[in-house]
Assembly symmetry: C2
Homo-oligomer: 350 residues x 2
């Protein structure tokens, strides 16, 4: 690796999205059947009758998970689910995964089997075939790289870039829980590190812990949309926090948005935990990440079909690009949304 005289740019100066923009800015696709390359939840490849939808995610020890409080089986489960979530976000059905894993000497065969128990359980629950992968040693810690492959008819695929002015913005489930679960685990880890005799206090926090350690992908919602004959105008999964994902939709669709604080769904358990931490639950919902809910936009004509559904929450609407992306607070103030999402490449700067 050369470290020449010329000035080098620290990666933290760009952050993850900046780095991706930088390295992919001149990437052009050549094949007619590559319908979508870089820049959405998944790539789309056209095979005639059916499209294949492909996404991939890395999970790195010490960055994405801490084995002090992450059961290996949950880790395997989550590694699959976070990829399936990207496939559902394209309104496609995941069918296959490959799993690559790099392991250091601290792991025994039994540990790897536990991880694969979780992987296989996720395959069972989501009806997925494990079709390949790679196994390697590593000098330090655990890396899991999953690629998920789904399918959909071309006309059913939903991108980030097709939201229209006046569309209604919806989110599924509730937000901020995974982030509060992480805060709790980090707190208990620190208490334990200071006093190795103590037992972590995790009772009564099941919901937010499950949101963090064993999240689910929104298979049910994609099935429901099909049943209701709704094709969202745009969709993305919420892995980096609501703000960050909304800004992706706005940027890619060349639109603005207005969402309302009092419409953002936050679970009581999330609120309770936030209160304990003297945190604003809204911050967890906007910037927390890892909720793996779906964020989508609907043409007004479809609103009646979903307006009474317990798990689908209209939180605002798409506006013209010049209006920007704003949150209307409970006090009626318009606050510009900012992507402070979960971004470990920038966080490193600290």
């Amino acid at each position: 690796m050369k470290n020449d005289q010329k000035k080098l740019t620290e990666i933290s100066e760009l952050g993850e999205f900046g780095l991706i923009d930088q390295i992919t800015k001149d990437v052009k696709t050549k094949h007619k059947n590559t319908l979508k390359g870089v820049g959405d939840d998944a790539a789309v490849i056209d095979y005639g009758n059916t499209c294949s939808v492909v996404t991939t995610d890395l999970l790195i020890e010490g960055i994405h998970f801490n084995l002090i409080y992450t059961p290996l089986k949950h880790l395997g489960y989550k590694a699959v689910v976070v990829n399936l979530s990207d496939i559902y976000a394209m309104n496609a059905i995941p069918k296959q995964i490959t799993v690559s894993i790099a392991i250091s000497k601290k792991f025994a065969v039994e540990h790897i089997e536990e991880i694969y128990e979780g992987i296989k359980l996720a395959c069972e629950v989501y009806n997925i075939d494990l079709v390949g992968g790679d196994t390697s040693s590593s000098l330090t810690g655990l890396t899991i790289s999953v690629t998920a492959i789904g399918e959909a008819n071309k006309e059913d695929i939903v991108y980030r870039s097709t939201a229209q002015n006046t569309d209604i913005i919806c989110v599924t489930g509730n937000l901020g829980g995974a982030y509060m679960g992480l805060q709790l685990l980090e707190r208990e880890k620190e208490i334990f590190t200071a006093n190795p005799g103590t037992q972590p206090k995790l009772e009564g926090y099941d919901y937010i812990l499950q949101r963090q350690l064993k999240p689910e992908a929104r298979k049910d919602m994609v099935e429901l949309l099909k049943e209701l004959k709704i094709t969202p105008t745009a969709m993305i999964d919420i892995s980096d926090g609501l703000s960050s994902e909304l800004l992706h939709i706005c940027k890619n669709s060349n639109v603005g948005c207005k969402i309302f604080q009092d419409k953002i769904p936050i679970d009581l358990n999330t609120e309770k935990m936030a209160k304990e931490f003297k945190m604003e639950p809204l911050i967890a919902a906007l910037n927390g990440g890892e909720d793996y809910e779906l964020l989508f936009t609907l043409n007004g004509n479809d609103f009646d079909k979903i307006k009474d559904h317990a798990l689908i929450h209209p939180i605002g609407h798409i506006t013209g690009q010049k209006n920007g992306a704003v949150l209307i607070s409970e006090a009626g103030q318009a606050i510009p949304l900012q992507a402070q999402g979960w971004n470990p490449l920038k966080k490193e700067k600290k």
Copy 2:
């Protein structure tokens, strides 16, 4: 991570292939369109007219490459090529890749750009679309995970498991060069570590260095087979050494094989380097790995079409399973083939 009382099995006891067997032994595919799951160079998914062929490989710093002597651009190029090689080994044409990368703080934006220069060059040379990926920080070193996606008609796809008794065994190009290149680089690294003032002596070794640092995948051979209207009866790429790959074909096809020492193609540069190291070049060819040549079997009827081709070498033939897999030495001795291939998970034991 639990480390309970129960006895744990060290991964080195199983090695890479043993571990893969262990964790995938109960993996069954559920979807009709998953034509091939775990157990070949790539998975095969049927989309009606066309099949998609998918493979994935991890490259880990300190295991698969050493940045002391690996130029970052070559590393990016190689990370792509090793995956394309698996697609060609299915007699398919690679069309798309995703690239995930995890980077520690020692890397600057310019370093990542160098890696991507290599990735993009490989995409140019092999006519591939870069369609997605993931970018993450890492606590230690560099990880690159590439997934390659190819396509082929169902009837053209060639598996490892379909070699027939009496088929002719062929390899492309020549073997052992990449391994000798690695030996040279390791030697010069050690000299340099002992005497940081010295310059590495790499002149005149271009061929084996290129085989190690910037290998190519056998696009030309797959195109030639198509041109000659030959469909091999079985095929695999040589990433872990000839012995290991031949044993895969034999095991998966339930056959034996007989190959002849004097037919194994070894380049003069490889021989020269082996002599310098007082090594048997045959060992590099059988067990060295990373040559990314193709190993395939042909029905005797096709033999005439290839017998005079400079880059295709018949090295023996398939036999009945009970005969085992043997090498006939120059002295006429039958030596059982052993998979001592490149296997870092077992090597760790040292």
